[in-house]
Symmetry: C2
Subunit: 414 residues, 2 copies
């Protein structure tokens, strides 16, 4: 079955907020077998909301709306939904109690703006918001359901998990759709498509393959649709296995795993530790690693050595190497890797030094030149990247590629 | 004038990719005075593309389409657009040359898949893609324009900046809309709305105020629309000034500035330097600071001390403090701040230690407890935060709040 999402908010249209809500909702809907067939982003205007709502209700049986439920004056979703359903807003005493309690916990009093949060369309099913003040609302008319939720991500996610997703499964009993995502890195999309040409030609009819590039990673998504979940799982198992065998050097993970989770799990299982020494990545590798809960079990720390003085004093890099070969050199990253590994007494270390840009490039070492060093008990080695001109992309790519090099080193050390 | 964006791709609907393209395009369109009135996200299916395209062309004169132009088999946008306009695809020799050259630079040969990139709808204006292989296409029929671009962000952005935005201004001469964004932090949305009640009541009719919260920051956006740019600028200047005077302690910047840019500029202007010592933020403060080009002028480095051993050995924190008060304590962050400032010989330092979660909380120090230390020539002080249970949000909020505390310290040091 199909559903549509309507995201309300000028801030989304003028691009001051990225619509991460819609992607999170898309993931969750797809998990319960509902296809999101369209996401429509519109502004806080009554006619826009009504036109989008009518269009969506014509096409599908389930419409999820987020946004426009805050206490401030530009938020008009609730009134418009009530108008669309030809009903009026009534004060819900349970919601009012929740609003009062939440304000009280913060030492605040109820004001006129916050009191409005307790108004809901008459006959709507109300979902209590345990993460904020605006409730979720489920309006079922002629077996077509419209759900309205606040746009604040934590509140929307709380309402979805606790109430909306279970209510959708109960009401619609959606058919089976299963996705498998295989994570690859190492080649560009066209090369990957070439390598997978035969695999694609031989795919059974009920399976679809999609390429989802986000450099340096390309996700491959196999989708199966049908009635028999068990049968689809078996077909997908076989195809996933075949895919892994077709490009074994490129596959590093699956589903929603991240490189930092995968590397972290590998270290934890082996009871091994990691430290990092970062120059051009400026702490981003450390940030990625520590974004994983429990990373303190294997991650000891980092020296972000943005200045050469710190490279010499804190990491023991030879001043002569910095003078002769420069900070962006094979010798410098090898010394940084060895230095931080020794100082932090870890099993592995990563060191990165490069020119992230947009300035600072030379003819020999243009912007995008990055050296990565990996040290382990077996010694150190270095790897050179030639990336582009985009600072943020260079930092991201150098970080992920260095974690992938570490992953390969850990595998070799077994 | 209004435009719509159509983003094509299953990966957006099932949420494996976040639609950052649409928000970037929304920002750019708004800058040239075009209102994006709707963003529609649909899948790679012919009937979906045609239905969305027809709907959009009914409502507006300009439709921007991204996605579905890659060389892989699930990409059908180009064929569908040609069909919609009742025309066929023809090979463009200039594009073919570009594809060949780009492949050659990578040491690759033209294959059948890549050759398809050179096919464009007959009579379309073609924009050369200098960042990839798929060209941009501008189809003008009955004074309604449809532009198709690849979904890869760097390619779309390159095409927009170089060709599409100038072509829109030339074709449509859009009317004047001006936004001013004022960045605040320190209170929640409802409190801010209370503080700004009078300001809002007194706003002139042509000005609209919107609240755009992304904790710990709330952006306030003033929008003015009219014909006379100069007059609107004058009104906005006055209102922005009034707003700044209403909440002087909460305003920290404007427009697209980030906290890390603002703090960086303040340090650069004063010829002062910064170092950081991070525990629970795990390198994220360092990452934010170094995401700003030129940050090496004022940023020296960081010690990410994830383990207590590193706090003692690299930062000189007293082992007794860690035993008695714990790593998440006022004493520990003050010592971390003083230690890293001394070691890296900087004018200022930030230290952060806390319990990011989801585990590791105690009754005294629940998840979300974070201590921030700031050291300067005038001594050190510490500040305690009580955040929530979300690890990523805690890391982000602690990072931004610590930079804001540094900002206040720098101002006080003048």
């Amino acid at each position: 079955m199909n559903a549509e999402i309507i995201s309300i908010g000028d801030e989304l249209l003028i691009g001051q907020t990225v619509n991460t809500n819609a992607s999170w909702m898309g993931q969750e809907m797809s998990r319960i077998g509902v296809d999101v067939s369209r996401v429509t982003v519109i502004s806080d205007k009554e006619d826009e909301i009504i036109s989008a709502l009518e269009g969506a209700r014509d096409r599908v049986d389930l419409v999820l709306i987020t946004g426009g439920l805050g206490p401030t004056r530009d938020d008009i979703t609730k009134i418009t939904i009530a108008k669309h359903f030809g009903t009026k807003l009534v004060e819900n005493s349970e919601v009012l109690e929740n609003v009062k309690n939440r304000l009280k916990a913060r030492g605040k009093e109820l004001n006129e703006l916050n009191r409005r949060q307790a108004l809901v369309p008459d006959r709507a099913r109300v979902f209590m918001n345990n993460w904020g003040t605006a409730p979720g609302m489920w309006c079922d008319r002629d077996n077509k359901v419209v759900v309205s939720m606040p746009g604040v991500p934590t509140e929307m996610k709380g309402l979805m998990k606790e109430y909306v997703l279970p209510a959708i499964v109960e009401k619609f009993s959606p058919p089976v759709i299963i996705h498998r995502t295989i994570l690859t890195t190492g080649v560009i999309e066209a090369e990957l498509a070439d390598l997978l040409k035969n695999f694609e030609d031989e795919l059974p009819g009920e399976i679809k393959l999609a390429y989802l590039p986000s450099a340096p990673v390309i996700k491959l998504r196999l989708s199966a649709r049908g009635k028999d979940r068990k049968k689809l799982e078996t077909i997908l198992d076989k195809q996933e296995d075949k895919l892994n065998k077709t490009i074994p050097d490129l596959v590093f993970g699956r589903e929603t795993e991240s490189m930092e989770q995968i590397v972290g799990d590998m270290l934890r299982k082996r009871n091994m530790t990691l430290s990092t020494a970062e120059s051009c990545t400026g702490g981003n590798i450390s940030h990625l690693i520590t974004s994983v809960p429990g990373s303190s079990e294997y991650y000891v720390g980092s020296v972000v050595a943005y200045s050469n003085k710190i490279k010499i004093n804190s990491l023991g890099v030879d001043a002569k190497v910095l003078d002769n070969q420069g900070a962006v050199s094979k010798e410098a990253v090898m010394q940084m890797a060895v230095g931080v590994k020794r100082q932090m007494e870890t099993d592995f270390s990563i060191a990165v030094s490069g020119i992230a840009g947009p300035d600072g490039g030379t003819e020999d070492k243009p912007v995008g030149t990055v050296w990565i060093g990996i040290a382990s008990e077996r010694g150190a080695y270095a790897y050179r990247l030639s990336l582009g001109n985009d600072r943020a992309a260079n930092i991201h790519m150098a970080s992920v590629i260095s974690l992938n090099l570490l992953r390969k080193s850990i595998l070799k050390s077994d």
